[in-house]
């Protein structure tokens, strides 16, 4: 019966590496499946947030590209969102949007807006005038100019922004557990004195960021064959 076992086992637990909070490969191997769900939650939060953030930032940038007076205000507003500490945004949204993914995603999206908006605008601005002139010379309309000339040439800058957004979001999503959205931060904070846990949870974050960064880079290479 459990009761009798308890008296005798408190003093000497079978695995003292673990009871002493050390780095225990055995424990890591046995318990690795504990990190699977948080890992995929983390991937979900990151991808969804960057996707939504990109959609919004891209649309805003296209609009602001033709109406230059919009650029400064948008940069201001997204900039302010950026200075709010992420912890604050998670906690402040909680009573409004409840615990869970929604709150976390809203906060994470807000943080990607500045980077992505700025990079799309910069990318479009960086298109050499000669290219635009050439396009106009070929009879392109403004819209064709945008999609056939400006955007393709802006891709490197846009992708640079996407890479930054993706890695930053992986980092920020580690705090999503404060909003009840799980993720690798949840696993990390479960026992942040336990070295094995910190190494695995933290390590998986870095690995995820690196993998996503490479993935975005890969897509960039695919879409810009002329840049090779």
């Amino acid at each position: 019966m459990i009761a009798v076992l308890a008296q005798l086992q408190i003093q000497e637990r079978a695995d003292s590496c673990v009871a002493d909070d050390g780095i225990c490969p055995g424990w890591i191997a046995e318990n690795f499946d504990r990190y699977v769900a948080p890992f995929f939650q983390h991937v979900f939060l990151t991808l969804v947030s960057v996707a939504i953030g990109f959609a919004i930032a891209f649309a805003l940038a296209l609009v602001a590209h033709r109406r230059r007076w919009l650029v400064a205000p948008v940069v201001q507003v997204t900039g302010i969102l950026y200075t709010l500490p992420s912890v604050a945004v998670f906690f402040l949204l909680l009573p409004i949007t409840g615990r869970g993914n929604t709150t976390a995603i809203i906060a994470l999206v807000a943080y990607t807006l500045l980077i992505l908006f700025r990079n799309v605008i910069t990318g479009l601005d960086g298109v050499p005038d000669e290219a635009r002139d050439a396009g106009r010379g070929m009879g392109f309309t403004e819209r064709q100019l945008l999609w056939r000339v400006e955007l393709p040439l802006a891709l490197p800058e846009i992708f640079a922004g996407l890479r930054i957004a993706v890695t930053s979001t992986v980092g920020l999503a580690a705090l999503a557990f404060l909003a009840g959205a799980g993720g690798l931060g949840d696993a990390l904070f479960d026992d942040y004195s336990f070295r094995s846990n910190v190494l695995v949870a933290g390590g998986l974050c870095v690995v995820l960021a690196a993998a996503l960064d490479l993935a975005v880079l890969g897509v960039q290479r695919l879409l810009t064959p002329w840049a090779r």
């Binding site: 019966m1 459990i2 009761a3 009798v4 076992l5 308890a6 008296q7 005798l8 086992q9 408190i10 003093q11 637990r13 079978a14 695995d15 673990v18 009871a19 909070d21 424990w27 318990n31 504990r34 409840g98 615990r99 009840g180 949840d186 904070f189 479960d190 026992d191 942040y192 004195s193 336990f194 094995s196 846990n197």
Partner: protein, 323 residues
């Protein structure tokens, strides 16, 4: 000597039985579960499937284990259970159940009396049953119902290391008088406003600490062993107390009430859970004694197993669900 030897042999035999996958009739006579009155299995009732409940919990190990035990036990009975554990402190959890974010969570009678219903130290009942009855009355006033409590009690306690106790001659909490000005107290963030924590130490014992540092609850023992804290607030079911040989100071002025765990649910929800809910709940919790709870906590905090696994072990080892 022979008694200890017999106990040891008995324990090893039981351990061997517990690990054995073949639970034949012959082996079951070794398990004292039949003599303990527990050990009957939870029966699945199809009628329960339409009852959906979300179980929550507060933010430390024992709570997470309790939450998982209730969730898995009720699921075995056929209820539709989801969980949202690790919500936060007692105020957060109460708000969650009142607001409908969760349907139930395990609260402690003592915590409820002090933190929710504003009882003063001298008004606290010393008897666990009396504490439960008073807490139940208080919850009824909030539109909540508190189900019958667990056998185990997990009280807040003031803890120091053996060295500190020896150096400063500490046995009771009031021994800290005159000395606490040089000591740092570590506690949970909500400790500052709780009468069974820093606030109580200030008001009931008149203690002033050099510094109070709020840390995450799960750190309550690490801060003592690493030397960062002189004094820490711990729970009596913590396995680390024995392992790290910490000293619990006597509550000579009676600041701490009894703390049995009781499942708290909104009255309307409780009205719809069906007639067998309370019986199932009783089956699930009547083997949660002090020693058992401490062992379960040890499996999470010392063996670093996760709460869900440990909850399952509890339910299978007590025969409540089949392995």
């Amino acid at each position: 000597m022979t008694l200890l030897l017999a106990l040891l042999l008995g324990a090893f035999a039981l351990a061997a039985c517990g690990e054995d996958d073949e639970s034949t009739g012959g082996e079951s006579t070794e398990q004292p579960s039949s003599t303990d009155g527990g050990g009957s299995q939870i029966q699945r009732d199809e009628a329960n499937a339409k009852i959906k409940l979300k179980i929550g919990s507060k933010n430390f190990t024992e709570q997470k284990v309790l939450g998982e035990i209730y969730a898995q036990g009720l699921r075995a009975a056929g209820y539709d259970i989801s969980t949202d554990l690790n919500l936060g402190d007692e105020q957060t959890a109460l708000k969650a159940v009142k607001g409908g974010d969760i349907d139930a969570y395990p609260e402690y009678t003592g915590t409820a009396l002090l933190s929710f219903f504003g009882k003063k130290a001298d008004e606290l009942p010393k008897d666990p049953e009396a504490a439960y009855e008073e807490a139940k009355k208080g919850f009824e006033g909030e539109g909540l119902t508190a189900f019958p409590p667990t056998p185990f009690t997990s009280s807040n306690e003031v803890a120091v290391t053996q060295d500190t106790a020896d150096k400063l001659g500490l046995e009771n909490i009031s021994d800290l008088e005159g000395q606490s000005e040089k000591l740092t107290l570590f506690g949970s963030p909500e400790c500052r406003q709780r009468l069974d924590c820093l606030l109580g130490l200030q008001q009931v014992y008149g203690l002033k600490f050099k510094k109070f540092v709020p840390v995450d609850l799960e750190q309550r023992h690490d801060v003592l062993t690493s030397g960062r804290a002189d004094v820490s607030i711990v729970f009596t079911t913590d396995p680390q107390i024995q392992r790290e040989k910490e000293v619990l100071l006597e509550d000579d002025k009676g600041m701490f009430p009894p703390y049995n765990s009781t499942l708290v649910m909104k009255q309307e929800t409780a009205d719809d859970v069906g007639p067998n809910f309370e019986k199932t709940l009783d089956m699930i919790q009547n083997q949660l004694t002090d020693e058992n709870m401490q062992e379960l906590n040890a499996r999470v905090d010392l063996d670093k197993k996760d709460a869900a696994t440990v909850a399952k072990e509890y339910l299978t080892e007590t025969g409540l669900i089949s392995a």
